[in-house]
Symmetry: C2
Subunit: 296 residues, 2 copies
């Protein structure tokens, strides 16, 4: 048995759970993916994975959970560690942190997937050295997490950046948006699901001169501008499947400069808006960071 | 001479400087207002006021400055405590904190007027007990400051909330906006100056059924919604001359609920969006809070 503590890591997504066992961010001993089905079934599969790993590697010092939301993050609330009211069938009210904590009798760290991701990016990725940093994921949905002085923002609940209300692009007025709550909020307009609803495929499958690229960049740039106006971050780390579209980050940067009128004291947009440094590992390593934090 | 320390307080505005001498937030020994003219002249008048007060009350333990912006807040930067590039003639590059610190040889606290205001509101006003709180002033211009765990947000520079880009109201499309940087950003559309540019008078001078009320509420509500999405504050404290318009805060609350679709976990909009608890003293008391912080 090694001297360094053993951590369990859970990236709880709406489509899949990514599980990992690690000693540090460079030593992932084991990882797996399980589909997100019903809560009991999914949690049972996760517990089986961790029990198995514990047999091989020893007991866990702490476990971190980076979850899809909305979640309850108030340590003093009776529903801390629960998923609250999600449109995902069966998952509203699921007690993620409680189920894990009861099974392994160790400290449990719990936060949103995007808060965890920016924590990991600030420790080991593209947001090192930034006092205020934001992580935005643009995939099937859109989410954002923010870190100030090393602490993820919670507040009343936690940020839901995908639900800001951007100005409509003049060539996109016919599309109503797909958000069940707001219609044409950012997620309703610029998420992977919204792109597919409009154009029948992903952004990267559309020709590079297709107007969709400029339309999506216009919407995403407005989140960057709103963040500059309201939060003044030093770093906005962008990830997710849609952001992997070739050329998109440069279009977003150019639109952000055009819209902000060079006003917010940002000397170099390419150091403000940066690609993820941890790639698709940001969520799982975020869970590791939460576990380490829970142990401290 | 009293045992409690003596503080100098400067609310440095673009139109006037409000100066105060205080032992605590309930003991303002002396206050005055001086017009903001040229930097040297204005600073000389401020120094004369504080010298005079010092003769009567003793030497200052610390002085706080709550300044109009943009300002440099990086303690490690050579221009810390300066106003940076302001459109106000003659004031770009003015070293406010340095001039005060050299004259009185005491610690100087320095922040934006709105960051100082939310600090004061969190200590003595409408934001007590909130972990994340925002102060918005809607007057001649629009500004916003944010506090997280007792610390004002700085980041890359500091928030410039007045320059977010709201959706245009359908009955207000003919107006281009007056912001020299962005045209129709929030300040360009909903500030007192923008109201006057459009309708020739203040909002409170327009009849209560004039469409201006709904238009301005629509714009201001979008800042509240953007704050909920990006920062998730427990409290948004609103002040300034425009916000004093009878009925406006209720219109803003109603619009914020309508736009957010009740999504951000806010159970009672009337406890989220609240009027200033310190009124027109929030800036000066903010300077006091900065002075007290500088002494600690």
């Amino acid at each position: 048995m090694s001297a360094s503590p053993l951590y369990g890591c859970i990236e709880a997504g709406g489509t899949k759970f990514v599980l990992g066992v690690a000693r540090d961010h460079e030593t992932l001993l084991r990882t797996t993916r399980i589909p997100t089905t019903r809560p009991a079934e999914t949690l049972d599969a996760a517990l089986a994975f961790f029990n198995d790993a514990s047999t091989e590697f020893g007991s866990f010092a702490a476990i971190g959970i980076a979850s899809f939301g909305p979640v309850s993050l108030d340590r003093n609330a009776p529903d801390w560690g629960h998923i609250t009211t999600t449109p995902k069938p069966g998952w509203s009210g699921t007690d993620l942190a409680g189920a894990i904590g009861r099974a392994f009798d160790c400290p449990v760290g719990f936060d949103t997937d995007v808060n965890a991701a920016i924590l990991a990016e600030s420790l080991w990725g593209a947001a090192r050295g930034s006092d205020i940093a934001v992580y935005i994921t643009v995939g099937t949905g859109i989410g954002g997490g923010a870190l100030i002085a090393g602490c993820p923002i919670h507040g009343l609940r936690h940020p839901e950046m995908g639900h800001m209300l951007p100005r409509r692009h003049p060539e996109d007025l016919a599309f109503a948006g797909i958000c069940p709550f707001h219609g044409d909020c950012l997620e309703g307009l610029a998420s992977g699901a919204a792109i597919r609803a409009r154009w029948g495929c992903s952004l990267s499958e559309l020709a590079s001169d297709h107007p969709a690229h400029a339309i999506i960049a216009y919407y995403l740039a407005q989140l960057a501008v709103a963040l500059q106006a309201l939060l003044s971050p030093q770093r906005i780390v962008v990830g997710g499947g849609v952001m992997a579209t070739p050329g998109l980050i440069d279009c977003v940067r150019a639109e952000a400069v055009r819209l902000s009128g060079d006003y917010f004291g940002c000397r170099d947009i390419a150091t403000l808006i940066v690609p993820t440094g941890l790639g698709d590992r940001s969520g799982l390593l975020g869970a590791l960071a939460l576990a380490q934090k829970a142990l401290r």
